[in-house]
Amino acid sequence: MKRKFDHPAPSAEEQLTGPKYWRSLDELAGTPGFKAQLAREFPEGAAELDGVDRRNFMKIMAASFALGGAGLAGCRRPEKFILPYGKSVEGIIPGLPSYYATAMPLRKSAIPLLAETHQGRPTKLEGNPTYQPHGGAATLKAQASILDLYDPDRATAHTKGGQQLNAEAVNALLDGIAKNYAAGNGAGLAFLADESSSPTRQRLVKALRAKFPRALWSEYEPIADEPPVEAAQAAFGRPVKPLCHFAKAKRIVSIDADFLQSEAGSLYYARGFANGRRVAKANDPMNRLYVAESALSLTGSMADHRLRFATSHMLAFTAKLASVLFPEVAGSLAPYAEGLQVPAKWIEECAADLLAHRGSCLVVAGSHLPVEVHAIVHGLNSALGNIGTTVDFIPTEAAAPSIATLAAAIKAGSVKTLVILGGNPAYNAPADLDWTALQKSVPEVIRYGYYVDETSAVNPAATVQLAAAHYLESWGDARTVDGTVVPVQPMIQPLFGGLTQIEVLARLAGVANPDSYALVLETITALAGAGTKADKAMQRFLHDGLLAGSAARPVAVRFNQSDVEQLFKPAAPLATLSKANLEVRFIADVKADDGRFANNGWLQECPEPITKISWDNAILVSPKLAKELGIDPKGSLIQVARKEEAEYSMGKEKAPVFELVVGGRKVRGPVHIQPGLASYTVVVTLGYGRSAAGHVGNGAGYNAYPIRTSAAPYAVTGAQLNNTGEFQMLANTQEHWSMEGRDIIREANLEEYNQTPTFVDTFGMESHAPSNLGAKYTVESFNKLSPEERIKARAEISKDIPRGNSLYKTPQFDGHHQWGMAIDMNVCIGCNACVVACQAENNIPIVGREQVARGREMHWIRIDRYYSDGNIDGEAFGGEGNKALPEDPQVSVQPMTCVHCELAPCEVVCPVNATVHDEEGLNTMAYNRCIGTRYCANNCPYKVRRFNFFDWNQRKLDQLYMSQLAEFGMPELVAMGKNPEVTIRMRGVMEKCTYCVQRIQNGKIQHKVRMAKAGTPENVVVPDGTIKTACEQTCPVNAITFGNLLDKDSAVAKAKARDQDYEVLGYLNIRPRTTYSGKLRNPNPKMPGYNKLPASRIEYEKKNVPAAHGDGHGSHDSHGSKKGGH
């Protein structure tokens, strides 16, 4: 067993130095398990070998040395070859990456991308900066989608009844169908396609319908991420969809809409939202977000005011809000608002705030909500004068016939040939359709899909499986959320001869020898308009990655109240929810989506942003419901969905397994208690529990589709939860890498910030830790300096401070650049896109569920999610311990990665100098020197170092414990996707964030080469913005800024000069190069539940000055002067 040093408990005085956050209810309560966890550098189990203690291990090792002898395997390195091209390839310079514009299509929108390719292999995706609304950002899923290209489980051949088909046979088959059905005008032919925004597909579907007027074209997506067109059709008399401009909105009301993560265009919206929230100096404008929701979404976690209640009550809430805003409609809406149990004052004050911001506010509703809600919301935005300012309406298409129409046709026996294009209906069709039986009853099924999945397995004998090409292997096109046409450009020939959807459609439409490129060219030529040369227009389109000026033009709309009234069904009484009548809310998983990304290891391993569970989904219940179900912890030991009886308490969440019953349909899954949920709403995430996803996705989580019907696809009432008495282990990273509740995140309300812009300096130890300031400054004199002077002074101090008479020299930072990073916590939405971007850029391996549960995940950057609720009274903080679980916590998220301390604690403990500083301020890791003592991780106060406990890259995750007996080597397909600029780390070495040193070095070299060729070799300083770290580049909200601190005009120097910039754990005198900005909240003083301080600060002030709540600064300063001497 690992020995553990017992740190002395902090003195009462020491406890008074920071605001308290708690990340889990365990931490809050200070359970013995949690306290044990704090004392370790890695969670328990992370550093131990199963069943072998250190002594035994040494014995075994000694024996194997003796047996092996010290023989030399060979003196010369093996012969290797250089394999140049036979014929030179235009534009390819070996060693230099090429970038091509493409786009990732997803349902009815797309993310424009730039793909980095190395000799034809795409290795990394970035947002396309030419598309202004995204500004070069990309989402979590877009970042991860490249891994699907190299998925060994993807469909690798076209098959018919299990027999492989060659390309000619496939063509003959499709041509045959086209010919056979031509006579009957397509009678008996049916299509089931996924949604798409591709103009080429739209054109081909039109052609197909013209050719086969009697064929049925239906579309199905399990998740709706755009507001229903019917609502807009009724409200405005034409098929339009809203396009919100969050940047212009000063007040935002979100009705169950997670517009920052799950709605179509979330990237577009998140960026706009952040622009309206970013504060550079005092008195800058900042938006205010009101959220009413049932689950705790990322949008909810950013809310200034959050109201939680059931999704099935959202119509009542919307009706009530409309009645309060516009009393003239109160009469007609009254029946719909009846029975709503929401504080009246909340709605009134929220409405007053909206009315005070007519034309600069915005109301948005979740796409899953009923059409009535959307109709009212359209009316509200119209009446508040928001149309044309904060929201535009752009043309869209009426929805195609749904899967229900198709199901009826199949049942009627009128479908002889069914072509399934994409999607996975056997897994995700509504349960009441009994899709498997329907599909079996169709004589001929052509299944076009990326995986051999559940749908392929329904009736393999009668199914033709066509392997789909990945979008990085396809020619195609798509539209972004604002309608801009973007190209889908192949980076590589289809690895397994996959087809594109438009090829299949074109062949069925009777086009002889269709070619995807030619099809797209035709579309683009038509879209570019007459007068442009086809090849020029196409070249421009592919170069820019978008068709300039193709964004949809907003149409003038006029709200038509009488038509909307037609839409309303008679009001039904609101369901009274209770333990016996639960509401089930279905949401698409943030990572697996509707199940399509279930086999993506990067997404599976990425912790869910709020629950922090990786590799599984859970049934989320509110603390109140948990108590009623009897799974809440007894006594004062408050825990989240587990009791202390688990063998491994940390990282492994021992979750009770419940059976969720709705209308006779059942599903079993582990229960996780999630504060912030509506009391009687049970949240289930879709996309897990796949049975034929592949090696990664199989067996991850439970499948919630079996209880989801077409009548109530997003929220259903009348459910019960039954305890099965069983438990399941969930890998939860929630408490990993804890930082002991210091003043890590510093928050203030906007009002306080405007009065005291430097509020971050009044926190914690820094306010009275003169050793930070060298001999030259005192706290007072340092605070008097201007921000620019402070940076300078800090740079000076960092060189002066002796390291406690140690033998180590203070590093000389004499490079041409000094790298640093600033993270704006005010806009960070916690979406985790940076986590996966970093993983893709830096060849970070996945480790699997078992290893995550032991705290061995390898992510270099993590998003810490903290809760605070202002009523904290935990044993850990000297109180008697909470008796009830908090229901309404405030959420704060913080990206945490190596902060590149100038006086890094990890460096002085490394016995082999494997981690040292370079002259430009990077804390570097030399992997080939590292011998794996893990002392550095032990000494890292941020807990950001990651150790390769196994050879994650070269061994299979299920054979890790077989050591040398396991198969060695990376599959060639997987190796293709690795970034050649970054070393693949082996077992036994430490790794961590490098500030993307490969990008820094290549950026510097490219700059030097350019300058030398231009005749100005003296110009060695890289211009600001040239080098971006992977996390910075992909951040949807521009929260991360990286650059050269010596350049006073660089974005990072400016960000660091802001008053609210602070160092996390700065009092340790380690001078982190990454600094954070204080988080601001903008609550409305008139709202119920308003507090002058954020919840975390209330706790902070309570602990510091029990007598004087509220007035933070004076009291803290006195505290500071009291302790000023040390």
Binding site: R77, E79, P84, G86, P94, G815, H816, R929, T994, Q998
Partner: protein, 219 residues
């Protein structure tokens, strides 16, 4: 007791110490000589699939390094030419030479000629040609006089010590940028006092500061 240990045994401890010392010395010397890149790498001259002679092509034909290694000043890798580059000339001269059969085959089929890799840096070391040749470091510094080699051989150890030595004193290895690809040119410091002065001036004006920390080469 004296029976067990004869008198001569008194010298034994000293003898053992000396013996071990000598042994350790020999071992150290052996390892230093035989197991470092100076011995294991220098002189490596494998047989190539095509007996290409740099000496002939540079000295007789007068080709510049960059005719074939065309991206050496742009990319981290100095590219080995594609067979197409060879065929620029060899589609006209020596079109039937049996020695060139692999090149012709490669050009026709698009398959690579498997040139044996001589100057290998380890996977964890990232050397960049472009930045060196653009800032006054000639090919000859690492590759030796390739222009005189009929068969290319490894002429320098290319060990970390070799790299660091130069990174510590870059001025001593500098050439005038126009001489970088002239393998017969002299280093500036070898061109008398005037040259040394120019080298120092370049060092200063170009703000040469070759990295001496890990991040320069290891990522």
């Amino acid at each position: 007791m004296s029976k067990i240990f004869p008198k001569s045994a008194n010298k034994l401890p000293l003898q053992i110490v000396i013996y071990l010392g000598v042994l350790a010395g020999i071992a150290t010397a052996g390892v230093t000589y035989y197991m470092t890149p100076k011995y294991t790498r220098v002189g490596y001259a494998p047989v190539q699939p095509v007996p290409f002679s740099h000496a002939k092509h540079v000295q007789e034909v007068g080709l510049d390094c960059r005719y074939c290694h065309s991206n050496v000043d742009k990319s981290g890798h100095s590219n080995v030419p594609s067979s197409q580059t060879c065929m620029n000339c060899h589609s006209i001269i020596k079109t039937t030479s049996p020695l060139l059969a692999p090149v012709r085959e490669s050009y026709e089929k698009g398959t690579p000629v498997p040139w044996v890799w001589i100057h290998q840096t380890p996977d964890y070391a990232y050397f960049n040609h472009a930045v060196h040749v653009n800032r006054g470091i000639s090919c000859v510094e690492c590759h030796g006089k390739v222009n005189e080699m009929d068969v290319v051989k490894h002429s320098q150890p290319l060990s970390m010590a070799f790299c660091i030595e130069c990174h510590r004193a870059p001025a001593e290895r500098l050439r005038d940028p126009k001489d970088v690809y002239n393998l017969d040119s002299k280093r500036l410091v070898d061109q008398g006092a005037e040259g040394a002065k120019i080298a120092e001036k370049f060092h200063k004006d170009w703000k040469l500061m070759p990295p001496q920390s890990c991040s320069g080469c290891h990522r």
